[in-house]
């Protein structure tokens, strides 16, 4: 490729652009104002003839930057997919003619709008480089699975079938995890009526006989280093020997620990041997082998059993789990059937507040339980007390509104799942940043004792995956399942969210596919979700770096480490290409080949800003390309009109917005700036998890900047936009236009 930058601007006249923008002289503007080498118009640019025209210029005229001024960058991406050149788009259709009325009065401002978008597309092309793939990319198709329980083995078997070698690291002496302790499982096929065999023995056999699967029992990960395609893991056995192996991706299936029932003395746990947890009942049932289950205290056959649902969970009490573990209702129904199977005369009472039976067969299984005579009582259990050889369950019947005392032989507590998610790295950071005085030894002990790292990552941001909520490792339960905030490391099973076997099976299969996908992407130097296939990558000018560590701390995906001199070390395969580092950098040394402080900064500077007395203000919109920009496009498709004074620049994530763009815009005479990003906070919708939140935080300080410029604070707004806010986005823009009319034009126009 020639070093010289040669920009070709191509202006489409299809879709009504020709008629509406006939006198706008866009081609002249492209060459004269924005210095494009050539500018061509075409009646139908995305047709074969139009595309051939551009390809011909690339091949024969040495064009290496292509600025296509036609429809939105979200449209016709297949037609305009030229290789080895940088491509930019000027949005004349959804962004101009579709949002402006076709009237004589509106014509002038509409033409100005189109002219600016042409200038912006050309200048963006000028400051872009065609992205080249990661030179460091490596292909390693070995998949490491941490945890040899039901989820881990399912993922191993699935990945092996797909042709990827798997290594399982299991901390216990045997495979099978919690499932191996079960007597039977909730059925996973019609008619969903009887408890079924767990199938775990067959599964272990399959894993052990699979030549593609290597199993390390009694082992832990003592060090995990690297990035997708080139992870290096130290697998250490209990006896102390360590072997280091290379992997392409990692699946963490470290499962759950049952909630510690000792925290429930009011329910009699620990006081009476006849109060057991669900997992302990499985053990009793397994020992009974189909003969009557006996109560632990004296070996008497159980004739009466009470199941207490939501024991220590779905509760706001301190030390209790606030969430629902999802499987316990079905598990209690299954366990009640253990008793009924042997002797239908055994009284089984399931006391619940809300019975939840998820899954395809859940309701059938519930009905089957009722049909077998399992009693279901909507009630709230307050106390279980030992009364001689038997127990007394004190509860409130919520249907009959009565306090009841029931005598029983055995009480089974449905305690919840606690994720084996390792160290809470965010809690560690909090303590780390606190003053030395506030550093209480109690806090440290709590973390040291409770949390043993699962992965032992060498990452700058901590040894384990960030928790999403309640200690579960995920980045978004609904939108991006399995995706953690560490690229190439996926979680599955109850470590990701509470689930039963049926769900764990589906979950593990999905995670296996994700692990395979990232191996293949990493080998080609491409990004993983959500910018799948993106080849661009951030680099930084070392001589300008002040070692402030903002990028290494703020990267939502822990992609950036630090070297011994505290300079950032970018791990390309871990990067998701959101640009949050670029937005964070106070000295603006971080940039992508095709997305940088310059590509956006130059766009907003080339916009023609008329003088103060023209009554033509300018509003800059920096719109997140994930949700806000599509919403703006759809506003255009619906022909919702908005102000002609707005100029919209898409950004990868609001997190990539560098404050210099705002100050540059205000200094160049823009009258207003609107930032549109995804929803932040607890129920965030940011595609890069933390980007929008960080942007809002950074923008929280913009008022001071405005005051030092003696500008009104109303001139800069930040909004959370969902992709469905199609009617709201034009309103936001028009409201800003009205605000400017009220407070007057910016004094910074030249």
């Amino acid at each position: 490729m020639a070093d010289e930058i040669k920009i070709g601007a191509y202006i489409c006249k299809g879709c009504g652009l020709g008629e509406r923008l006939a006198d706008a002289q866009l081609a002249t503007i492209a060459t004269r104002d924005a210095k494009a080498s050539i500018a061509k118009e075409h009646d139908f640019l995305c047709s074969a003839a139009g595309v051939a025209m551009i390809q011909n210029d690339i091949d024969n005229e040495g064009i290496n930057r292509v600025a296509i001024c036609a429809c939105s960058r979200r449209a016709k991406t297949d037609a305009f997919a030229f290789e080895n050149v940088a491509i930019t788009r000027g949005n004349l259709r959804e962004g101009v003619i579709w949002v402006r009325p076709d009237t004589d009065e509106a014509r002038e401002t509409t033409h100005e709008m189109a002219a600016d978008y042409v200038r912006m597309a050309v200048v963006e092309a000028k400051f872009q480089k065609p992205p080249s793939k990661n030179a460091d990319a490596q292909y390693n198709k070995n998949i490491l699975i941490v945890g040899g329980g039901y989820s881990g083995m399912t993922a191993a078997i699935e990945a092996s079938i797909a042709g990827y070698p798997v290594t399982i690291v299991e901390k216990n002496a045997h495979l099978g995890g919690n499932t191996a302790q079960f007597y039977k499982r909730v059925p996973n096929h019609a008619p969903y009526a009887e408890p079924a065999d767990t199938g775990i023995a067959d599964m272990i056999k399959t894993v052990e006989n699979d030549k593609n699967i290597t199993v390390h029992v009694n082992s832990r990960l003592t060090k995990t280093d690297g990035s997708p395609g080139q992870f290096s893991a130290d697998i250490s056995t209990e006896s102390g020997s360590t072997n280091t192996q290379q992997f392409g991706s990692i699946i963490q299936a470290s499962g759950f620990t049952p909630y510690d029932a000792n925290q429930l003395p009011e329910l009699g746990y620990g006081k009476s041997a006849n109060v057991v947890t669900q997992l302990e009942l499985e053990k009793l049932a397994k020992e009974a082998k189909g003969s009557p289950i006996k109560r632990p205290s004296d070996g008497k056959e159980v004739t009466n059993v009470v199941f207490v649902q939501c024991a220590g969970q779905r509760s706001t009490k301190e030390g209790h789990l606030p969430y629902c573990s999802g499987h316990c209702c079905l598990t209690s129904i299954k366990q009640a059937m253990y008793f009924k199977e042997n002797n239908p005369a055994v009284d089984t009472n399931v006391i619940y507040t809300d019975l939840r039976t998820p899954g395809a067969g859940g309701e059938d299984f519930y009905r089957s339980g009722q049909d077998k005579g399992v009693l279901f009582t909507k009630g709230q259990v307050n106390e279980v007390i030992e009364d001689g050889a038997s127990l007394k369950v004190k509860f409130k019947d919520l249907i009959l509104n009565e306090d009841i005392e029931e005598e029983t032989d055995l009480v089974v507590l449905a305690t919840g799942m606690v994720a084996n998610s390792g160290v809470d790295i965010e809690a560690v950071v909090k303590i780390d940043t606190n003053d030395e005085k506030e550093k209480s030894p109690a806090n440290e002990i709590k973390i040291n004792v409770k949390d043993i790292s699962v992965l032992n990552l060498t990452y700058r941001q901590g040894p384990d995956l960030p928790h999403l909520k309640y200690g579960f490792n995920d980045s978004h339960f609904i939108c991006f399942p399995y995706e953690t905030r560490r690229t190439g490391i996926y979680t599955t099973g109850p470590v990701r969210r509470p689930m039963d076997l049926q769900q764990a099976q589906e979950d593990a299969t999905g995670a296996a596919l994700k692990a395979i996908q990232v191996v293949e992407n990493a080998s080609q130097g491409r990004a993983a979700h959500p910018r799948s296939g993106d080849l661009s990558f951030p680099s930084f000018r070392k001589e300008g770096c002040t070692q402030c560590k903002r990028c290494t701390v703020e990267c939502p995906f822990g992609a950036i480490d630090e070297d011994e001199k505290r300079y950032p070390v970018f791990n390309e395969s871990r990067c998701r290409r959101c640009g949050t580092c670029m937005g964070a950098c106070p000295v603006r040394v971080i940039s992508f080949e095709n997305y940088s402080v310059e590509t956006v900064g130059q766009q907003l500077k080339i916009v023609d800003v008329p003088d103060e007395f023209s009554e033509k203000p300018r509003i800059l919109v920096l719109a997140c390309e994930n949700d806000a920009y599509p919403a703006l496009d759809m506003a255009g498709m619906n022909r919702y009109e908005y102000s002609a004074f707005v100029r919209i620049i898409p950004v990868r994530c609001l997190g990539s917005v560098n404050l210099i763009w705002i100050t540059d815009a205000l200094n160049s005479g823009y009258d207003g700036v609107i930032l549109m990003g995804c929803q932040k906070g607890e129920n965030y919708q940011c595609h890069f998890v933390k980007g929008s939140e960080l942007a809002h935080e950074r923008m929280g300080k913009i008022d001071e900047t405005l005051k030092t410029l003696s500008l009104e604070t109303e001139r800069v707004e930040t909004h959370e936009i969902a992709i469905t806010d199609i009617k709201r986005v034009p309103e936001i823009i028009n409201n800003m236009a009205a605000t400017i009319e009220k407070i007057g034009m910016s004094p910074f126009k030249f």
């Binding site: 009284d347 009905r367 279901f376 009582t377 009841i404």
Partner: protein
Amino acid sequence: MADLNVAAIEKYRNNFLKEVEANVEEGEWVKMCMQCGVCSGSCPLGSAWDHPPQELFMMIRAGKREEVLTSDSMWMCTSCYNCVVRCPRGLPITHIMHGLASYALRLGLAPKNQPTRKFAVLFWENLVKTGRVNELKLGLNLYFMNGFIEGIKTALGMQKIGLGMWKTKRMSPMEFFGGHGCKDAKGLQAILKKAREIEDAKRQKFNS
């Protein structure tokens, strides 16, 4: 059967539920209720019930035998079938209500002065005699249900309507003497007797 009335019923055991399953029409459905409360919300007379159907089902499961069988609630059912249509579990709630009422009556536990109960007994006795409902007699029985004086009063009040019905041949005073019946009233009575025998045998089996 009398000893059943005083049988010790333990709470939240299956004893009473099993008794209901064996003795009450469609009683085997009671355990299938999932306590959603749609029946109670759908009942047009819901406010008149001490215990709406959902609650009755829970009381049965909780072993509240006495309270259920002496209750006035199931007698309030007008057979509109709203609950049956809406029940997500497909319980024949109307039938269960009548089944419970009928069982309570047989045990002698049904509330004595419950008007629906009185009417039901009058209706049944009237019907089985000839195989046809004698409207004149049923009407008069109803007038005198609550005593002689009130009966005379009601009859006088209804005088005009009665004469009008006679004139338009809607009702004949001759029905007072015997009245018309079905072709084989004896046969019908035999059928009912046999049905009772079968039901009793079934109950006997459970109770023994």
